[in-house]
Amino acid sequence: MKPGRLASIALAVVFLSIVVPARAATIQITMENLVISPAETSAKVGDTIEWINKDVFAHTATAKNGDFDVTLPPKKSATFVLKKAGTVDYYCRYHPNMKATLKIEP
């Protein structure tokens, strides 16, 4: 293989790894000891939110405006792809003292 081709493949790999996540990122949010962190997350439409439940208790990520209601069994994670821009407050239906906010840009 010519060095030039190798370099272009390497460049393509670098390029893909930078560009693809920038277009649609997966953002991880942790639920541990009844705390959602980070409590405020910025994201863009098309991004995937992955909630990771580290507790032995079931939780939900439930949008106050009804946009999503994701159930998280103990020690499991679940994802949701953001479809609409806006600031969405969400909470856990089982433990409404668990609260957080998503700031979704277009």
Binding site: N33, A58, H95, P96
Partner: protein, 177 residues
């Protein structure tokens, strides 16, 4: 001295009176084996109440709430059992636990006489009051008295869960009206 403390805390839990809790002397601290027993008993009480509600509740929301209580309190108690085993602590029965159990079985009998919407209302109202009282006891007595760091941490997690349950119960109660 422990008896006096237990009587105070039991009364506080039963009557939901934070004033009584504050009245308990700091010197009358329960021991870790006693704290473990009280916390475990408090969980068992809510599990028993939830099982009764699963059989008797009419509203879908109340049934779902009971199922949430059952699941969470069983999970907490499973953790508590694992912890006492790890720490090689034997939970010790005490006046507070006994008073709690007595009061709970009276409440169970009282609720058993109700049915339909009346049961739903009374069960949820009791859940609000019960979690409020247990949270008060956790905050002001059980957590500050716990010696072992892991026990303290489990009680702190328990407090956050029960505060969540209290809010959840308040929400269900509001929906029933």
């Amino acid at each position: 001295m422990f008896t006096r403390w237990s009587a105070a805390i039991a009364a506080a839990i039963l009557l939901s009176s934070p004033a009584l809790l504050r009245g308990a002397s700091a010197a009358d601290k329960p021991t870790d084996p006693q704290i473990a027993h009280i916390a475990y008993t408090a969980g068992v009480i809510d599990i028993t109440a939830a099982k009764q509600a699963q059989k008797k509740a009419k509203s879908k929301d109340v049934k779902a709430f009971a199922e949430d209580m059952l699941r969470d309190h069983e999970a907490v108690n499973k953790q508590a059992l694992a912890l006492v085993k790890k720490l090689n602590v034997t939970p010790e029965d005490n006046d507070t636990s006994r008073a709690l159990s007595k009061q709970a079985s009276d409440k169970l009998a009282e609720l058993d006489k109700l049915s339909g919407a009346a049961f739903d209302k009374a069960y949820v109202a009791n859940e609000v009051a019960y979690h409020k009282a247990v949270n008060g006891a956790l905050e002001t007595q059980l957590i500050p008295s716990a010696g072992n760091a892991e026990l303290k941490s489990l009680l702190q997690t328990g407090l956050k869960i029960f505060q969540g349950h209290q809010q959840h119960a308040e929400h269900v109660a509001a929906e029933l009206k």
